[in-house]
Amino acid sequence: MTHLADAAKAPPTAEQSPLASLRRLVAATEIDLRLFGMLVALAVILLAFNVLSGGKFLRPVNMVTLAVQATTVAILATGMVLVIVSRNIDLSVGSLTGFVAMSYALLMTDWLPRVVGLGPDFPFRWAVALAIGIAIGAGFGALQGFIIAYGRVPSFVVTLGGLLSIRGAVWYLSNGAAVTGLDPTFQLLGGGPRGSIGGELTWLVGIAACLGLVFLLVNGRRQRRRFGFPVRPMWAEVLIAVVGCLIVLGLAAFANMNYLPPALASEYARQHGIPEPPGGLLIPMGLPYPIVILIGVTIVMTWIARRRRFGRYVYAYGGNPEAAELGGINTRWTIMKTFILMGILASLAAAVAVGRLNAATLDVGESYELYVIAAAVVGGTSFAGGIGTIPGAVLGAFVMQSLAYGLAFLGVNSPGQNVAAGIVLVLAVAFDSWNRRRGT
C-alpha cells in the first residue's frame, strides 16, 4: 500500500551489474528492497508460527488481534523515526503515553463531569477528552523539544528526565489507583467487537486504497515526464497496480473474514429480528478502529516526512546538521517540532491503549520506549541519522509484535518472548548494516 507509493517516489536505483531476472524485475518496479525484505521476513515469521501451531495461526481473527496489539507501538514508532533521523532520541514516550492515558480516564470519569459539567449524557465527551489529551501530549513534547533544541541539552538526558518524572507524575494524577468506567464511545478507539468499521466500510477502504495507488502511479508518471526523470516501463506500472490492488483488496477480504463473536451475533440477530441460520449469523467486523487510526497515521506521517518541507528538513538535518544549518534551515524549530509531533502521537497511542483496556492503570506505556525504539530500528532507522522510513518502522512494530503474539499463542512464557525479541532486534540491525555495506 503506502510502501509501494513510497517506492514510486524513490529515486531510481542504478543497477549496473548483471543480476538474476527476479532482481531485475524488482529493480524495474523500483520497489524499496529493504521494505520488501522486511515484508518477506514478516511473512516467514507468520508462516513459521503457522507451521508450529499446526495451521491454526494464520486465521483472520488471530491476525487482527496481532495487528491491534501492534498499533500503539507502531503509532509511536512513526514519530520515533523522525526523532532518530534527526539524531535525537525520545525515552519519555512510554511515560508520556501513560500520563495522557491517565488524563483521558480522569477527564472522562472525574474532571469533565465535575468541573465542566459534561456528564455521560453529553455525546462528544470522548472528543473533548481526546482534544485535551492531544494538547497535553503536544505540550509535554513542546517543553522537552524546547529544552533540547533551544536549551541545547542532549535529548537523551532531557527525555530520560521525562521518563522518570512523567511516570512519577502519573501516580499523583490518580493516587496510584487504576481508573475505570470510561465513555463507551471512547472505548471504541481501542477496537473490540463493537469497535470495528464493519464489512462494507472495510471494502470501501480497500477500494479507496486501490484507487489511491493507481492515482499515485499515474500522477507520479506524469510528474516524472514533466521534469524529465526516467519512467518505469509500462508493464512494471501495471504490475505494481495489479499486485498492489490485489494485496489491499485481499487484506480487506481477510479482515472481513473476522466475524462477530457468536454471542454478540445472536444478540444482534435478536435486536434486528433476523432469523439465525444453523451455523450462526456471520457478521463481518472488518477493520477495527485502532488499525484505521494506524493506517491514517502512517499515511499522514509518510506524507509529512516525504512531501512537507518540515519532513525534508528533518532528513536534511539528520544527514548533515552543519550543512542544514548553513543552508538556512531553522534547525531548532525543526527539532522542537519533531518532539511536538511525538507528543501528539503519544496521545493517540494512549487513546488506543486506554480504549483497549477500558481503564487507565499506572503501568500503561511501561517500557514502550524500548519497544518503540526497537520497532524503528528493526524498520531500518539508523542511529547515525538521516536514514529511516515511516512504513519501515510500522513494519518493524509488526515484526516485533508478531514474535510476541506468536510465541504467546504457542504458550511460550514472557522470558522466552523477551529472549526472542532481543535476538531478532540484533539480527535485523546486523543484517541491515551488512546489507548497507554491501550496497556501497
Binding site: 488481534t65 511516570r167 512519577g168 487504576a178
Partner: protein, 401 residues
C-alpha cells in the same frame, strides 16, 4: 502486591540515591512528617510512655496511608501509647536513617515495613542494641528476633483457587501468573492453588489447564506477566483466547494471581467478545471490586489490612509492657484472625530461621459478601465499587439497588 510499580520504585530509588550522593541535603526528608519531639523523649515523665515508631518503605500504594497507618495509630493511641512514623520513599538507605531517627525519638517498639528484607538488617541490629523489639509488618525480615505479622500469601492462592473450584469444579482453566521474578507468582500462590486441590483435579482429568506446556507443577502451568503489567496480561490473554478458539475449546475459568492481571484479563475478554467467565484476583483494588459488582470478576481475595494494622498496634502495646513475644495475644475480626489462634506461631522463614508470627487469613470477596468491604472502611469507597452497577448486576444487593 502491585509489583508492577517495582520498576518505578527502582527508578525513584535510584534518583533518591543519586540525590543523596550528590548533595545530601537534596534528598527528601520524610522523617520531618513525624512529630518533631526528639528532645521531649528524654524527659523522665515520658520514660514510661509507650512510643511506637513505624518506618514505612513508601506511601506509593494508596493502601498504606488509607488503612494500615490509621489503624496502627488508632490502636496505639487508644492503648495510651504514642505513635510516630517516617516514610522512606522506597529507599533502603533512607529507611536506615529513618529507623535511627525513630530510636532517637525514644521509640520503645519498632514496626518496620521493610523496603528490602536484607538491607534492613542493620536497622534491626540497631534496635537490638537498644533493647527495642521489632515487628516485621507485612513483609518478612530475615532475623530470628522479630515478630512477623502478615497475611498468609499461600492462603491467598488457596482462597483464589478454592473459590473458582467451587464455582467451576470441572472444565478448562487458564492460569495467569505475575512477574516471573517474584516468588509470590512462581511459588507461593501456586502452592496455594495446589493446597486447594487444583493439582489433584488436573491429575484426575477433571480440569485441563489450557496454557500449560508440560506436566511439571507449577512451572509448566500458566502464563507469566512481566512486572504484573495489565496491558501485558491483556495481550497474553488475547493470544490464549485466540488459541482456544482455534482449537475449538472453551475457557471455563481463569485463575489470575492478582488484581492488575485480572484487570487485563477482563480487558481481553471485552476486546475479544468473550463471555466473562469466573475469574480470580487479589488485592481489593477499586477497579476490581467494581468488576466483582459488575459480574466481570468472580472473586477478589482481600487482605483486610485494617485488621493487620490493629494486630500490629496491639502487639506493639504488649511488647511495650514487656510481654514476651510468645505470650502476646491479639484480638481482631475472627474472619481474618490466624487459624492457629490468637497466640503467635513459630514460622519457618525461607532463610531457615524460626520467627514468632501472626499469619492472618485473607477474605475471598464475591458479589455475595461485597458489603463486607464496603462497610470495613477500605480505601475503595462505595462509589468506586458500585460505579455503573445496575439492578441486574451481581453486586446490586451490596450496592443497595
Amino acid at each position: 502486591m502491585h509489583m508492577s510499580h517495582r520498576r518505578i520504585a527502582a527508578l525513584f530509588g535510584a534518583v533518591a540515591v543519586l540525590a543523596a550522593a550528590c548533595g545530601g541535603g537534596a534528598s527528601p526528608t520524610p522523617a520531618a512528617s513525624a512529630p518533631a519531639s526528639a528532645g521531649a523523649s528524654t524527659a523522665p515523665s515520658q520514660a514510661a510512655e509507650c512510643i511506637v515508631g513505624v518506618s514505612w518503605n513508601n506511601f506509593q500504594q494508596p493502601r498504606w496511608a488509607a488503612t494500615d497507618q490509621p489503624n496502627i495509630k488508632k490502636t496505639v493511641e487508644a492503648g495510651g501509647g504514642k505513635y510516630i512514623d517516617a516514610d522512606a520513599n522506597l529507599s533502603s538507605e533512607q529507611q536506615l536513617t529513618d529507623v535511627n531517627n525513630l530510636i532517637n525519638q525514644g521509640a520503645k517498639v519498632l514496626i518496620l515495613l521493610a523496603q528490602d528484607q536484607n538491607a534492613i538488617l542493620p536497622a534491626v541490629q540497631a534496635a537490638k542494641d537498644h533493647n527495642i523489639p521489632v515487628i516485621a509488618y507485612d513483609r518478612l525480615i530475615e532475623d530470628p528476633s522479630v515478630l512477623y505479622i502478615t497475611f498468609n500469601n499461600v492462603g491467598v492462592g488457596k482462597a483464589e483457587a478454592e473459590a473458582l473450584l467451587k464455582k467451576v469444579p470441572k472444565g478448562n482453566y487458564v492460569i495467569i501468573k505475575g512477574d516471573p521474578g517474584d516468588p509470590n507468582a512462581s511459588t507461593f500462590l501456586p502452592e496455594g492453588f495446589k493446597q486447594a486441590g487444583l493439582l489433584d483435579k488436573i491429575q484426575s482429568g477433571d480440569i485441563t489447564v489450557l496454557n500449560s506446556t508440560g506436566t511439571n507443577w507449577p512451572q509448566d502451568y500458566g502464563t507469566y506477566t512481566d512486572a504484573w503489567d495489565t496491558s501485558k496480561a491483556q495481550q497474553n490473554m488475547e493470544a490464549i483466547i485466540d488459541k482456544a478458539r482455534a482449537d475449538g475449546k472453551t475457557i471455563d475459568a481463569i485463575l489470575a494471581e492478582n488484581d492488575s492481571t485480572a484487570l487485563g484479563v477482563v480487558a481481553a475478554e471485552t476486546a475479544k467478545g468473550h463471555p466473562f467467565v469466573p475469574l480470580s484476583g487479589q488485592d481489593g483494588d477499586p477497579a476490581n471490586l467494581n468488576n466483582v459488582a459488575l459480574g466481570k470478576q468472580y472473586v477478589d481475595v482481600w487482605k483486610n489490612s485494617n485488621e493487620l494494622g490493629k494486630a500490629a498496634g496491639q502487639a506493639a502495646l504488649a511488647l511495650c509492657q514487656g510481654t514476651a513475644m510468645a505470650d502476646i495475644t491479639i484480638d481482631i475480626d475472627p474472619s481474618v484472625a490466624p487459624t492457629e489462634g490468637n497466640k503467635p506461631i513459630d514460622f519457618q522463614t525461607p532463610g531457615g530461621k524460626t520467627v514468632k508470627a501472626f499469619i492472618l487469613q485473607p477474605t475471598p470477596i464475591t458479589a455475595e459478601n461485597l458489603d463486607k468491604v464496603i462497610s470495613a472502611g477500605w480505601y475503595a469507597t462505595k462509589d468506586d465499587i458500585c460505579k455503573g452497577v445496575t439492578a441486574s448486576d451481581p453486586g446490586a444487593k451490596a450496592c443497595g439497588l
